[in-house]
Symmetry: C2
Amino acid sequence: MGLVVQKYGGSSVADAEGIKRVAKRIVEAKKNGHQVVVVVSAMGDTTDELIDLAEQVSPIPTGREFDMLLTAGERISMALLAMAIKNLGHEALSFTGSQAGVITDAVHNKARIIDVTPGRIRDALELGAVAIVAGFQGVSQKSKDITTLGRGGSDTTAVALAAALDAEVCEIYTDVDGVFTADPRVVKKARKINEIPYEDMLELAASGSKVLHLRCVEYARRYNIPIHVRSSFSGHQGTWVRNRPEAGEGEEGMEQAIISGVAHDTSEAKVTVVGVPDKPGEAAAIFRTISDAEINIDMVVQNVSAASTGLTDISFTLPKTDGHRAMEALTKSKSLIGFDSLRYDDQIAKISLIGAGMRTNPGVTATFFEALSNAGVNIELISTSEIRISVVTRADDVKDAVVAVHSAFGLDSDSDEAVVYGGTGR
Amino acid sequence: MGLVVQKYGGSSVADAEGIKRVAKRIVEAKKNGHQVVVVVSAMGDTTDELIDLAEQVSPIPTGREFDMLLTAGERISMALLAMAIKNLGHEALSFTGSQAGVITDAVHNKARIIDVTPGRIRDALELGAVAIVAGFQGVSQKSKDITTLGRGGSDTTAVALAAALDAEVCEIYTDVDGVFTADPRVVKKARKINEIPYEDMLELAASGSKVLHLRCVEYARRYNIPIHVRSSFSGHQGTWVRNRPEAGEGEEGMEQAIISGVAHDTSEAKVTVVGVPDKPGEAAAIFRTISDAEINIDMVVQNVSAASTGLTDISFTLPKTDGHRAMEALTKSKSLIGFDSLRYDDQIAKISLIGAGMRTNPGVTATFFEALSNAGVNIELISTSEIRISVVTRADDVKDAVVAVHSAFGLDSDSDEAVVYGGTGR
């Protein structure tokens, strides 16, 4: 039996009862002969309460102190979890991100992991203890200041530790049974996915599926760490995220439908830069301005320019929370970049269909657009990749759009079987 | 203008408003040209809430994890305070005990400071920033684990930093105006003490005065750091704790009454070891047993043995919270030590009179016992030092006893003047 990294989110450790339930589950894994490393988030609403306090004392909480504040949250949950495990008669030691060797860059509030040196974790495991590690946090290599990893940080901590410790699996415990073919709150007939390759999971995460965060999946894929997403409230098998099995390796891979799922995202806004001269360097100037403001963008769409004017429009989507800063940065650089005007729209939704081999199967794209059209949903932007088609629609249309697409691709739980395009069809 | 260390307790930073008020006061000191180092406790009831959570997950929270848990409290308050100061336009950086160089032994829950290496604090001050330091916490030299300093820990952190940084003064901010001649909740006519020597303050603290903790006064005395105890809610001068001025150095010292104050303490219990053979090594065996259980005792009283039996009784007082463990430890060693029986009594109070030159002025002792007698208070144990007389009475008698003694020594605020014994009398 090997080493298992388990990660428990805030909803799993929301109160003393939750912590005790999680402790039991950890002890079970220990009894089954595993070495167990646990990554834990802050309890329930702790982080929100701390953010609220920060806003009460200062309208613009600054990076370093904000990180110092937020990291108190995991400190509380990890210490309590260690106590609860000890109370069940097993040894447990808790470690901050810094103590666990999670080394990051110095970008406060959204630091990136640059190294993991888990010497103290290995020592704890050798002593037979469960090692509890604070998720979401690390220490800056340069300044020795405490940093936080930003959204999805605890999942990323778990996968990074799993990679550094050469774990068999990284189990991500959450309050749902796994990854679904669509958000079950929107699509009643959504189905749990038993297994999904890293690439599809990456696109699902990037397209609005909240279960796993993009960074964590990227990390797992790079180091080939299998992730098992499952519920902390049940013993059911959840969703395995790992490399697609080689052809002929087993039934499991053969039976997999080509379409993994439908994701939606209403957290983004759309910015359109109107009247951009269609010459080299223009797009670069726009996105350098955005990048200098430390804003991540998502979809980017540029149409061919009108021959008469030599001007084009460039649209992109970005988190609503960054919308104001992006507009400000672009407005400041208006004369430098040279464009006519800016438009901002935060009443949009993005709907994405994810699955392998999509590009080589024209039928997929056609079915997708037909489904939206039949549901009366208008499309504003389109963007595609090897394994994803995304469209931007009005925010009001999101539910209709997702339900229609989910059904059109035979993903509904009462369908006889999934609609399969291409060579693997049965 | 030199360096000032300010310490704010939990009641001063109980909520966002409190934090903002404290931030303003810190900025004032900065504007007056001081370099400012701030030591802060956890907000209001945070520590109690964390202890409550710990008890919910585990009946016997263990040392290491308990410390990890509790230190989250100061992390929150210090980060918020730094934010609030920045919001007023001044630079501030917060540091954990570990980052501030508070090095301790490895005794969790009541670690002792063994070194202070405040390199990062000095760097912050040189940058012109206010340095905010988490009180009550440090890092173990050996294990690198986080430790807490136990009761009075934040005051001790403040004085230790003041000593290491060679500060002009250590200001201890609290929710009362200073140190009083008795607890103002018990004695309505208690008066604020303007100045008190370390020795008297030590005895007051040891005798139940809650304003300053014993360890902090010991530390200040050893390194000769003046302490100014004052309210964070007003601008009034509080109580200065420092060396007694040399004779003739100024009016202030000359006017000081010989009696500093009356303290009481109802947090202790009394253990009596009955029928101890009166021979060398017996008392040592008893107190080695107690010491091995890591229990601090306070008063110890042994009477002469009865000539007929060669047996004596030994009584001592100790914190009620340690009572159970002490009785257990002694019971286990009963045959080894050799005594008849044990008695335990937690319905006691200790009343102490503190003042310089007491031993050489027999009138003090007489007045003290007369006052108690006139108030109808029975005395169970007596113990004296150079500058203190303490008695143990029934817990029910504590208020009558304190009021009577306070009045008998002319400490009441409507007295014309304090009763002064000995050479400095006017």
